[in-house]
């Protein structure tokens, strides 16, 4: 018998004569304590994210490309990784061309294998969209796909995320239900709640352990 058959038959023998327990999931318990008035959601998200060293800005949707340029200028960064196949990527590229910006835009349009070294060591910042956010825990939902690959939010030291204010949900359960996650998930769905961190030495918090050292969230109020 294979390991699989052995394990399963041992487990089945242990359950002989028993019946599976019924599903008594308590939705209220995971939703009711975590509900906010619509106008409070942004504040809740902001306070939780700022508590873990995230920079949060709320601004009008039309102004975000200029804000991105300002963030790069203030930090004297040389380049920005973006996703050219997305709507916000195209918007950014248009702004960049018109503004005659100094920073280089790097398009993530090739498989990782073709420019792994460059992505690892020479990219200063990246900008991605989000699939919404969760007020209860201060988390962004990232839904990487072919246009916006997984590593964009992980490799560069600065990650800038665009979040539509209308897409902030109260809690994880509501988010899952609204977006119907159980019907199909991407290859790697992510909840991101701040820049990379560790407290492995004497429980002293240090940011930038392996992923981004800085996370900036731009909340677009009228989007």
């Amino acid at each position: 018998m294979s390991a699989r058959d052995n394990i399963l038959s041992k487990l089945r023998a242990g359950l002989e004569g028993t019946t599976p327990r019924p599903d008594q999931f308590d939705e209220e318990l995971v939703t009711q304590p975590w509900q906010y008035a619509p106008e409070d959601r942004i504040e809740r998200l902001r306070s939780l994210m700022e508590a873990v060293h995230t920079e949060v800005h709320t601004l009008a949707a039309a102004n975000w490309p200029a804000k991105v340029q300002e963030l790069l200028e203030n930090r004297r960064l040389a380049n920005l990784l973006y996703a050219p196949g997305t709507g916000h990527g195209q918007q950014l590229a248009e702004f960049w061309a018109e503004a005659d910006a100094e920073q280089n835009l790097l398009a993530y349009d090739r498989p990782i294998e073709e420019w792994k070294e460059e992505l690892f060591w020479q990219v200063d910042a990246s900008i991605t969209g989000t699939a919404g956010a969760i007020a209860a825990t201060g988390s962004l939902v990232l839904w990487p796909d072919r246009h916006e690959p997984r590593l964009m939010s992980l490799l560069p030291p600065l990650h800038i995320a665009l979040l539509k204010a209308s897409e902030i949900e109260d809690n994880l359960y509501t988010m899952m239900e609204k977006q119907n996650w159980s019907a199909g998930l991407p290859t790697n769905l992510l909840l991101v709640s701040g820049p990379s961190k560790t407290a492995d030495i004497e429980q002293v918090l240090a940011y930038g352990a392996h992923g981004p050292k800085e996370l900036v969230v731009l909340i677009l109020e009228d989007a």
Partner: protein, 485 residues
């Protein structure tokens, strides 16, 4: 790569190691400070008692429900993962699991592995297994990296290097990596970041653990703060996840309360920085992510615990570490004293199923049974009750069938005879009176040396008059004074 020092060889028993640990002031201080802080963080994370208790009840229900249909869920998980393009493997023993992982690496001619934090890979001693076959397996969690660099094992399941302070880490980095000594924690972490980033870039295979495997969607959920888990599961062309068979849950929504219980109980965080939900390898049109994803499902004694309805509750564990943070024994002796992969209260109830009670005969008794572990367990595992059960299994006669492998390891005919005598004395009134008469008159003959008891206490001497006698005399005196009894 340094070979790890098998901690079990330092001294032969829990008692011996505990004596050493108790004499180490630095170690005791490091643990005391860390555990006090972790207890406070957990308390702050659950300000509403009603919500906390409701959530613990739900967590227990979800795990018990999953275990009540575990074989079906494992089959559903396998089918769904396979549909998603993930290869599923099964292993009864750690040797078998290591062989599977090694074969995957070999098929890719790999020589470098980066590993995210995984207690199951510790169970497998995967690093040593692969090192013996000329494959470098590097820990990428900062804490794990520190203990690996020092040739040690983790001393806590959430904070592997909690037994070290910054000065010790500084000296370690200085001597092993040749960097300038610094006690600035930020600088130490940046040294780790730079060193490990090169390794992520070069690795052929990434290995990770799994916090919850979701049968409904075929998803492997992984929590972490550092991003090393994301690196290990995204950058190398192959990702191998290893997990125990008990980690499967039925539905995606089941992870909502479990995730909240896990992160709040472990470090007092509302959620970890990254929650990864991996449901498949890179799709044909995607630009990054591993081309292959494998899952190794490991038994290693779990089906043994599963066979007994009471001991099955051991498998509820979601590996948050709260029981060890609140354990007065763990806080004083530290994780290495247990000499096994899982320390603390949870270690004392899971390890016997993995290695046999005869290998860890002291574990069930290394507890004050104060109940703190059971009170904080987010999925309500009755740890003290299970410890008592294992104590019984430990002293079973070799003639009785062993429920736990290695059961009966502490059987002693002397002890059994003594308890039989005690029972006889206490169930036969005449015998009891004779014993009491003798004990009160001959108390001075009690030996001065009563084994381990008199190492730290004076030997008890029976009083010259028994409680019965005193009570009788008191009542008689009262009656003589005309009082109502």
């Amino acid at each position: 790569m340094n070979q790890r020092i098998p901690v079990t060889e330092l001294t032969s028993s829990f008692r011996g190691r505990a004596t050493e640990a108790l004499a180490d002031g630095q170690l005791r201080n490091n643990f005391r400070v860390a555990m006090d802080s972790l207890m406070q963080k957990r308390a702050d994370a659950f300000p509403d008692e009603q919500e906390r208790e409701g959530l613990r009840e739900l967590g227990n229900h979800i795990k018990a429900r999953a275990l009540s249909r575990l074989p079906d869920l494992l089959e559903q998980l396998e089918a769904k993962l396979t549909e998603n393009g993930v290869h599923v493997h099964w292993a009864e023993t750690t040797e078998e699991a290591n062989r599977i992982v090694h074969a995957i690496i070999e098929s890719k001619q790999g020589s470098q592995v980066v590993k995210g934090k995984s207690m199951v890979s510790e169970e497998m001693e995967m690093n040593d297994y692969l090192a013996d076959r000329d494959i470098e397996c590097l820990e990428s969690d900062m804490g794990e990296y520190i203990v690996q660099l020092d040739g040690e094992k983790p001393s806590h399941i959430i904070m592997p290097a909690i037994h070290k302070n910054r000065r010790q880490v500084s000296q370690l980095f200085h001597s092993k990596l040749g960097v300038e000594a610094t006690e600035d924690v930020n600088e130490l972490i940046q040294i780790g970041r730079r060193t490990l980033r090169k390794k992520f870039l070069e690795a052929d295979v990434g290995v990770s653990g799994v916090n919850f495997a979701i049968a409904e969607t075929g998803t492997l959920l992984l929590v972490e703060n550092e991003g090393n888990g994301r690196m290990s599961t995204t950058v190398p062309p192959v990702h191998v996840a290893v997990t125990g068979i008990e980690k499967v849950v039925g539905n995606l929504r089941d992870v909502v309360p479990l995730l909240s219980l896990l992160t709040r109980s472990a470090l007092g965080q509302p959620i970890t920085t990254y929650v990864n939900m991996i449901s498949g390898p890179r799709k044909a049109d995607e630009l990054d992510g591993p081309e292959e994803v494998h899952l190794v499902l490991l038994d290693n004694g779990r089906s043994g615990a599963f066979a007994d309805a009471q001991l099955r509750q051991t498998l509820n564990c979601i590996r948050c570490g709260a029981c060890m943070n609140h354990c007065p024994v763990y806080t004083r002796v530290g994780g290495h004293t247990y000499g096994e992969v899982y320390p603390g209260p949870i270690g004392k109830i899971v390890t016997p199923h993995m290695v046999g009670l005869d290998h860890v005969p002291d574990h069930p008794s290394a507890s004050s049974l104060c109940g703190a572990c059971g009170e904080v367990c987010p999925v309500k595992i009755p740890i003290p009750e299970l410890l008592q059960r294992l104590r019984q299994e430990n002293v079973k006669s070799p003639d009785e069938p062993a429920v736990v492998q290695g059961g009966g390891a502490k059987y002693s005919w002397k002890e059994r005879a003594l308890w039989r005598m005690w029972m006889a004395l206490n169930t036969r009134p005449t015998l009891y009176k004779c014993f009491l008469w003798a004990a009160t008159r001959l108390g001075k003959l009690t030996p001065k040396n009563l084994g381990p008891w008199t190492e730290n206490h004076t030997a008890p001497v029976p009083a010259p008059r028994s409680l019965h006698d005193l009570a009788k005399a008191h009542l008689n005196a009262g009656q003589n004074r005309g009082e109502q009894p």
